[in-house]
């Protein structure tokens, strides 16, 4: 009965309503309405942006779309923020490529995109190092400047500011699979036939590709041999065909665990379960393997980088915003952004850490956080990704 109440509460309170809204594919009616609105605006001879007030446009993950952050920025600066939540990292990269650099001021993406794609394609601009590098000094030691992912390949240009970061591997029902066992077994858990048809896949597809590499015993961020591709194909086909459900909605997967429909899912982590854990559903448990094929590590650590889009007419407030979000109060809001609790690099400061309640830190499995980070490699571009992705997509198409 208690489970039913929790289930009802969880269902009634989607932790990320904005994300769900933004993840839906635009339909024809919305498209027509958008074209109509754009035509109307064009007919009036003005741009959608009001040049009289300073409004920053954020293309971002959910945390920066928190109303408290928007209000605080307005209170403190008089400026306003408008935002759109990513559907996925690559979709937003596509949008900048397609000319939306004229629309957005700020973009927040996982670490490899800025250095490997956005900067070489001229889609973001660099930040003044003398102003922004001191911010890195107030973060955890691993971000000490010059931090690799925040710099261009040449090492000369600072491309963004680090904030949210965490590992993202898999989630188990701790009442069914002990976390200790799951950590020990690592990705082999999904190779175990006993789990066939008892797990789900959160279809964050680039992550799935990396996880399947781990499961096939391949370092996702190292060059691949033909043997590696063969091993990947075998694992991808098996894992995808053995999955009970595949969805882009982690709330569905969490509910499936609560309903005992599945016992685990990948890709997952505190990002996908803290909201539920804060509701008291502590059997949802984020696992980062103790070991794996990536230089002995099995976890993957994502780091979000906040960058200034290369707008043709950049606004000075963009840099102010990039600096402001690292202050304790905004950083705390971002860590709790839109009800989705995640660690931020500013938690290295006692003043920021002290703002988190005991329950919040428990929801974050904070006591294990250093261990999770230590057992992980940093998210990177996957060599051979195109071919691996094609194998993965082909296995998806064959799932029937």
């Amino acid at each position: 009965m208690q489970d039913h109440r929790k289930l009802a509460a969880l269902a009634a309170r989607n932790p990320l309503p904005g994300v769900v809204r933004s993840r839906q594919t635009i339909n024809r009616r919305e498209l027509i309405a958008g074209i109509g609105a754009a035509a109307g605006v064009a007919a009036l001879g003005c741009t959608p942006r009001d040049s009289q007030t300073s409004e920053l446009s954020l293309l971002t993950w959910d945390a920066y779309a928190d109303p408290r952050l928007v209000n605080l920025w307005r209170e403190q600066t008089g400026g306003s923020l408008r935002y759109e939540i990513h559907v996925s990292d690559p979709t937003s990269v596509n949008r900048l490529r397609a000319g939306e650099t004229a629309v957005w001021d700020f973009i927040n993406l996982n670490n490899p995109w800025a250095r490997k794609q956005l900067w070489p394609a001229g889609l973001i601009r660099d930040l003044p190092r003398e102003r922004f590098e001191p911010l890195f000094e107030k973060m955890f030691e691993k971000f000490a400047p010059p931090y690799y992912w925040a710099m261009s390949e040449s090492g000369e240009h600072l491309l963004g500011v680090v904030q949210r970061f965490e590992t993202f591997d898999f989630v188990v029902n701790a009442d069914v699979i002990s976390p200790r066992t799951a950590k020990n077994e690592g990705w082999d858990l999904f190779n175990n036939n006993d789990l066939a048809n008892r797990y789900g896949i959160l279809a964050y597809e680039d992550w799935n590709v990396m996880d399947i590499c781990m499961g096939a015993g391949i370092h996702p961020f190292a060059d691949k041999s033909e043997q590696d591709f063969t091993a990947f194909e075998e694992t991808a086909t098996r894992w995808i065909s053995n999955a009970k459900m595949i969805t882009t909605d982690f709330a569905q997967l969490n509910l499936a665990i609560i309903n005992r429909d599945i016992d685990a899912y990948f890709t997952g982590g505190t990002y996908s379960i803290t909201s539920a854990r804060l509701e008291g559903i502590n059997n949802l448990y984020a696992i980062t393997p103790d070991s794996g094929p990536a230089d002995g590590k099995g976890g993957i650590n994502w780091i979000e980088l906040n960058s200034a889009v290369a707008r043709p007419e950049p606004q000075a407030e963009t840099l102010d915003f990039l600096e402001w979000i690292t202050e304790p109060e905004p950083a705390w809001i971002i860590a709790n952004g839109n009800g989705n609790l995640q660690p931020v690099s500013q938690m290295a400061q006692p003043e920021v850490l002290a703002r988190f309640s005991k329950e919040q830190l428990a929801a974050l499995q904070w006591d294990e956080f250093p261990e999770r980070i230590a057992n992980s490699v940093e998210f990177d571009i996957v060599p051979g990704y195109d071919r691996l992705y094609d194998i993965y997509a082909s296995a998806m198409r064959a799932r029937s």
Binding site: R21, Q24, E205, M245, Q252, I258, S400
Partner: protein, 273 residues
């Protein structure tokens, strides 16, 4: 001359994007420019790399949805036609209202209904009747149910329009001549309501062919539909040319299936011009 602005608007808003997609479809894979060397490789890949399977699921799913919607819409439309005054309005509003709610929200609601154990259906059966039932959530059946649920109004209302155009005198004359219910439906109702039914079926088929959310939210991605395969190419694969080639194929298949049907419909007659 008066049609020139409309023609320009159509050219800019409809033909130009399709032309861009068509050009992308013949560019080298995983490139982002429209000026590369022309190649058929994406179309070759579309036929050789297993895309027939999602295409087959989409086409067969759309066909099945259309047939089921037609079967459900016929008695519903007849019943609605027989209602009068505020009762007809009330029932029509009940059916039409969900269209104004986001499709994703409706489908998430449906998934809560179908969920095992704590879901609305299974939970109620358990609590009220002490009966444990399984769940069809995350199966193709659930996705098909969702497709019918979402697309039903698109068939119902054109069919209702078609049925409402049948002169009552004609039906009465048929009855006076001794026609049975079956003959009445076969000789009078069906042929005269056919244009409405065809338009509804077209709406339904084309929308269902492009549907993706039902398989994602209710079907647990138990199969990949063609729109999902296209989305994958544009997004995670960062392969716009391949996505564009698949898009062109879907447009071509839709046109091949839909245009012959469209030719049989006399729009002027339907709207009594």
């Amino acid at each position: 001359m008066t049609s020139l602005p409309v023609a320009l608007l159509l050219a800019a808003g409809f033909l130009a994007p399709i032309a861009i997609v068509a050009i992308y479809s013949i560019m080298p894979a995983r490139t982002f420019v429209l000026t590369g060397s022309v190649t058929p490789e994406n179309y070759v890949a579309a036929f050789t790399e297993g895309y027939w399977r999602p295409l087959m699921w989409s086409v067969s799913g759309a066909l099945l949805t259309t047939i089921l919607c037609l079967l459900l819409a016929w008695p519903t439309a007849k019943a609605l036609k027989s209602l009068e005054g505020y009762r007809a309005t009330f029932v029509t509003i009940l059916i039409a209202l969900p269209i104004f709610i986001s499709e994703s929200v409706r489908l998430f609601g449906f998934s809560l209904f179908l969920m095992p154990a704590g879901g609305i259906l299974a939970g109620t059966m358990d609590a009220a009747f002490d009966v444990s039932i399984g769940s069809i959530l995350n199966t193709r059946t659930a996705a098909l149910l969702g497709m019918v649920y979402v697309h039903f109004p698109f068939v119902l209302f054109p069919l209702l329009l078609g049925l409402s155009q049948i002169p009552e005198e004609q039906r009465e004359a048929a009855r006076d001549l001794g026609a049975s219910n079956w003959q009445l439906m076969r000789e009078i109702d069906a042929p005269l309501a056919a244009p409405g039914a065809l338009i509804g079926a077209l709406f339904c088929f084309v929308l269902a062919l492009g549907a993706n959310a039902e398989m994602r939210i209710l079907g647990g991605q138990s199969v990949t539909v063609i729109t999902h395969a296209i989305e994958q190419r544009f997004n995670y694969a960062q392969d716009w040319p391949m996505g564009a080639a698949l898009t062109m194929l879907v447009i071509a298949i839709t046109a091949l299936l839909v245009l012959p049907v469209f030719r049989r419909i006399d729009i002027d007659r339907l709207i009594r011009r």
